[in-house]
């Protein structure tokens, strides 16, 4: 199934391997949202197993992409376990109109990764977990699933078109979990350059609006 999808995509346009895989997973992203809804509504174990099979290895890869303070070799397996248990427990609260399963699961994963690293590197009692910062009211005008899907498709394709240095900085920030200051030290760039490069990348993707365009 994977190979047939990949080949359909490569027929449309020549793409590198990574983009082909991305498009492939994006094509099926509605499927993941449907599975997540089933887990939430009917505690569907088969659906959960499918989610696990798809997201487990990705989450483990995500855990290993960040070598920040507090990293330990077992982080990957621990993260997969903790995130997937949270997915099971929180699935009933999943709102498909607000975010796709991929966005939703990565929000959980991001919070888990931060909290696990923090717990390892910090001996003080931390009263707030990272997910406590994401308890915000539901919007009155939710984005419909279709709009949301369309905008995620757009995110996909615009990401693949970024110049190398902008792609690199976004990966540092989101995948490796580096702060702007850490990225600036690692890349040997002034902090201001890092800040503006991140903004430029997101402007190019039309995620944020440039100051001139706002006026």
């Amino acid at each position: 199934m994977i190979s047939s999808k990949t080949s359909t995509i490569s027929k449309n346009k020549p793409t590198d391997n990574r983009v082909a895989i991305l498009n492939n997973s994006e094509k099926r992203s509605d499927q993941w949202s449907q599975l997540l809804i089933s887990v939430g509504e009917t505690r569907d174990r088969k659906a959960f197993a499918q989610l696990f099979e798809h997201f487990g290895p990705l989450l483990k890869g995500f855990a290993h992409a960040s070598r920040n303070e507090g990293w330990f070799p077992g982080l990957g397996d621990d993260l997969v376990q903790e995130v997937m248990i949270k997915v099971w427990n929180k699935a009933a609260g999943y709102n498909a109109e607000k975010a796709s399963a991929t966005t939703w699961i990565y929000t959980v994963a991001r919070n888990c990764r931060i909290d696990m690293l923090r717990r390892k590197s910090n001996t003080q009692h931390l009263p707030l977990e990272n997910e406590d910062f994401w308890h915000e009211p539901d919007e009155e005008t939710p984005i419909t699933l279709l709009q949301q899907k369309r905008s995620e498709d757009k995110v996909q394709s615009s990401l693949s078109q970024l110049p190398k240095e902008q792609d690199e900085i976004l990966r540092k920030v989101y995948l490796e979990g580096k702060s702007h200051a850490e990225a600036s030290a690692e890349l040997g760039l002034p902090l201001g350059t890092v800040k503006s490069r991140v903004r430029l990348a997101l402007q190019k993707m039309q995620i944020i609006v440039s100051k001139e365009a706002q006026e």
């Binding site: 990574r18 991305l22 997973s25 197993a49 696990f52 487990g56 290895p57 990705l58 483990k60 890869g61 995500f62 290993h64 992409a65 990957g76 397996d77 997969v80 376990q81 997937m84 248990i85 099971w88 427990n89 796709s100 991929t102 966005t103 699961i105 990565y106 929000t107 991001r110 990764r113 910090n122 003080q124 009692h125 009263p127 707030l128 990272n130 406590d132 910062f133 994401w134 308890h135 915000e136 009211p137 984005i143 905008s151 995620e152 995110v155 990401l159 976004l170 990966r171 989101y174 995948l175 979990g177 580096k178 702060s179 702007h180 850490e182 991140v198 903004r199 997101l202 995620i207 944020i208």
Partner: protein
């Protein structure tokens, strides 16, 4: 919720917040602002979409064959009914101290991490309640300015984040209302004043003591030290 906020965190702060790399004290303030500001919530959702797409580009790494079974075992061994009971019990006991209008993270801090249960007087018009937040760089606290209360004119030695949680205050530059997010850097001199129509409560994170610039500065002794915890 109607969006009345006019002062927002800048885009790089939202980006770092979305990536989870913003330091704790600043994250507390950004999350408090998000509670009030639908514009920034929408921006954050878009940033989260980007983040999730990038995060899903991590090279997959095979998980152990029994990983799924282990997860199911853990799920099955958790007695669901007991967790439900526990959370209802927690919700009832916490009810008294929860302010509906406050952000979740602030209510949680109020319930778990106040250093003293009572407001502490800083000056005739300002009270403070400090939090223990498990980090060493910022003092995180609530400040209450009484209606019409004047605070001494002061400069800042470090960064100060402020979010208005209730009421409003003003300084030489503007009026700040519920949800407004402010950053003050060294060199920013201001003299906040509480609005006449009621007390104002602000959340703040302060990385260094403020510096009085007015002749009455000696009245500010309690302001002159911070206690990050």
């Amino acid at each position: 919720m109607i969006n009345n906020t006019h002062h927002h965190p800048d885009e790089n702060m939202l980006i770092e917040f979305s990536a989870g790399t913003l330091e704790t004290a600043a994250s507390i303030c950004v999350s408090a602002h998000l509670h009030f500001c639908s514009r920034c919530r929408e921006k954050l959702l878009r940033l989260d979409q980007v983040g999730s797409q990038i995060m899903s580009q991590a090279n997959p790494i095979e998980v152990a064959d029994n990983a799924f079974d282990q997860v199911m075992e853990k799920i099955d061994s958790t007695d669901l009914s007991s967790t439900v009971e526990k959370s209802t019990a927690a919700a009832t006991t916490a009810k008294n101290t929860i302010d509906e209008g406050f952000p979740f993270s602030v209510n949680k801090l109020i319930n778990t991490s106040l250093i003293s249960k009572n407001w502490k007087r800083l000056s005739s018009s300002v009270d403070v309640a400090r939090f223990k937040t498990g980090q060493d760089n910022y003092e995180v606290a609530l400040h209450k300015i009484c209606a019409g209360g004047k605070t001494p004119k002061h400069d800042h030695r470090g960064t100060e984040y402020t979010v208005v949680l209730k009421g409003s205050f003003s300084d030489e530059n503007a009026v700040y209302r519920e949800g407004d997010f402010l950053i003050r850097e060294p060199g920013d001199v201001h003299q906040p004043m509480g609005s006449q129509n009621g007390e104002c409560i602000c959340l703040s994170a302060l990385s260094a003591p403020i510096v009085p610039t007015s002749p009455l500065g000696f009245l500010m002794k309690p302001w002159l030290r911070i206690n990050p915890m």
